[in-house]
Symmetry: C2
Subunit: 392 residues, 2 copies
């Protein structure tokens, strides 16, 4: 690699990385290579991912730029996919610099190592606007759901996001209309951190109707993130691949509202495949907008999430609430004795014992306890309940 | 046992059992004993249950009427509970006969052997109005829920009950207001079989506001059933014990709507304890009336029930529907190629391949397939999508 190559790399990285990085040739090389790989491949390209995991981004890139005659068929297939895009890298670096985006690669301190669980599908780099370390700060929970959300779904999304964000949890979502937008918005409203992971480049906020919201995330607290470089349009493939990043970046994924075929079920599938805890919010069975959530209960054994506390518990954040007693455990002979007494009619102990089906001596002991508790009083030669009887 | 004892037993059983039974001394003795036990004990009396299971109802009753000097403390405790009620048995038989009820004991052909799973808590006898064999005919599913039901809960209860009853499933419930009443009513409306299991005697329909409904069950198709004899009032204890019968009588229990402390959670607990499949219907997390159902998902791993088909599947009745494909599996290189083409702009294969990140040769093959599928057409030296592009 020549000095002029390194000069080019430094020019490309200027403004995108910490200034100190530019003083270190090796650091420049590996970051530049990671960024170039993000320009060459479609998200989730396992051939590139395996080479980078084995050799590092810079050696793998050398192998792509100067392939040996011994390169195998998979690598040569890869080159035919990747090389036509090489000329576009310059524009991607320039566009990122213009909008003040940052480049975060696996060797940077702010890299979210949760993404490494994706193995050969780990992104080569992230392009980030806002807080470059947002995905490293504290715990993150993904709240996702349908664009075609109902008022109910948006209400619950806002409630969960506000509860999570205000307790220091980073709310990760996809920046889409509906549930995603409400999750981001409610996080911002509470001053909490939120991260939108996009399917296209961070230079062009998608959907356009959420541009203001995404801009607020960048300006206030959190980040807008993509693995694809600036200038990349969102496509169906890229949305599906983006979903794996949402699932991997968060400690748990909660689907708030989703139709039977909602794309957010794909995010849920990624979370399950990664072994990340998966939750879903129930809704009316009469609402098609909740059918996907109910499907997750059945097909993915998703946990039922009804509050921010449930979501934190799902993700293993904070203490789990004490398990409440079940109704059955609270019923005993005392209850049977309460049943057998009346506030209106005086009954002797033996009458009450017969009604309760209890031994009269035991019944006498119980009624004495009830008297001590202020629940029964003696009247003539019998007993009555005081105040609210325990009758069903 | 004297001839005059047998005469008494026959008089008591007359009209309550099949006439043929009265010709057989042993059959008379055991049925009479079972009925008397139901008069002596509170539901779920395990001491009586164990003795009856070990000796049979008639020998166990002999042991109660003529206890040996060697009887242990538990038995003597039992006698103190049971014997004060002995004098009430005559009235119970008379009342049952007056209202046309039938006595069903474990030795009768119409006994629902599902109840035997209750072990020492198996009821000694059932007092039945309507079809004495209703709990033996076909499969049964319990639909239970809160008295304080919402419009939503009642709607779902009606929908599930109608779907089950019209497919030949017996709908079991507790005859209460709210979910129970709607489950019974919808079953009757479709001409299906439904069984109400009461906490008090079948001579007095409880609650009074459901007397017409319970009367319709008796007159049309199904039964009203209790383990306690006529003249017994419903108490909190008896409601909780009655719940174990609902859970045991049905192949599966579905809680349709229940608050956080609803009594129907007790039925669910019995179903779980019996190893019976347990389901719950989700509802809005904003509805307190569904909080108990959501609790069942979390604490009892209840299955999410959204339709009568789900409930049948839960109970193992009928075939399970084919598992639908997940969204993720449907996306492939073809989708990426569709993403890369446009209906408005003509693109060459190499342009489209670059956009899709695919090998140009592979892209050429894919576009040819899309042409065959009628999704793409050649324009000049490039390609366009026809009609609805597959863009997200």
């Amino acid at each position: 690699m020549s000095a002029s190559d390194l000069d080019l790399f430094r020019r490309r990285l200027a403004g995108l990385v910490d200034p100190g990085v530019l003083d270190d040739d090796d650091a420049v090389r590996v970051r530049h290579a990671a960024a170039v790989w993000s320009c060459l491949t479609e998200p989730g390209d396992a051939v590139a991912g395996a080479a980078i995991a084995a050799l590092g981004a810079d050696e793998a890139l050398d192998l792509a730029l100067r392939p040996p005659a011994s390169a195998d068929e998979r690598w040569r297939d890869g080159l035919r996919r990747w090389m036509p895009r090489l000329g576009g890298a310059d524009d991607a670096f320039d566009a990122a610099r213009r909008i003040g985006a940052r480049l975060v690669t696996p060797c940077d301190p702010s890299w979210p190592h949760a993404l490494d669980d994706l193995g050969a599908h780990t992104p080569h780099a992230l392009w980030v606007r806002g807080d470059a370390g947002a995905l490293r700060s504290g715990s993150a929970i993904a709240l996702v759901g349908a664009r075609a959300a109902t008022t109910y779904g948006e209400h619950v999304a806002a409630d969960l996001a506000a509860g999570l964000a205000s307790s220091g949890v980073t709310v990760v979502s996809g920046g889409a209309y509906g549930i995603d937008a409400m999750a981001h918005r409610a996080s911002l409203t509470t001053g909490g951190r939120t991260v939108a992971i996009l399917a296209g480049g961070v230079d062009r906020f998608y959907p356009a109707g959420n541009a203001n919201l995404l801009g607020r995330i960048v300006d206030e607290v959190g980040a807008v993130v993509a693995e694809v470089p600036c200038g990349t349009t969102p496509t169906k493939w890229r949305f599906l691949q983006r979903n794996r990043l949402i699932a991997a970046a968060a400690a748990a994924t909660v689907v708030v509202e989703a139709g039977w075929r909602s794309g957010s079920l794909n995010t849920a599938g990624h979370a399950a495949a990664l072994g990340r805890p998966l939750g879903a919010v129930p809704g009316p069975v009469t609402s098609a907008a909740s059918a996907g959530c109910h499907r997750l209960f059945r097909e993915y054994d998703a946990r039922c999430i009804t509050s921010a506390g449930d979501a934190r518990e799902l993700a293993g954040i904070g203490a789990s609430p004490a398990t409440a007693n079940t109704e059955g455990g609270r019923v005993d002979d005392r209850t049977r004795m309460l049943d057998a007494l009346s506030a209106r009619v005086t009954r002797t102990v033996s009458q009450a014992a017969r009604r309760a089906g209890l031994d009269p001596d035991h019944a006498a002991a119980l009624v004495a306890l009830l008297e001590l508790e202020g629940l029964a009083r003696r009247v003539d030669d019998g007993w009555r309940l005081i105040g609210s009887g325990a009758r069903v």
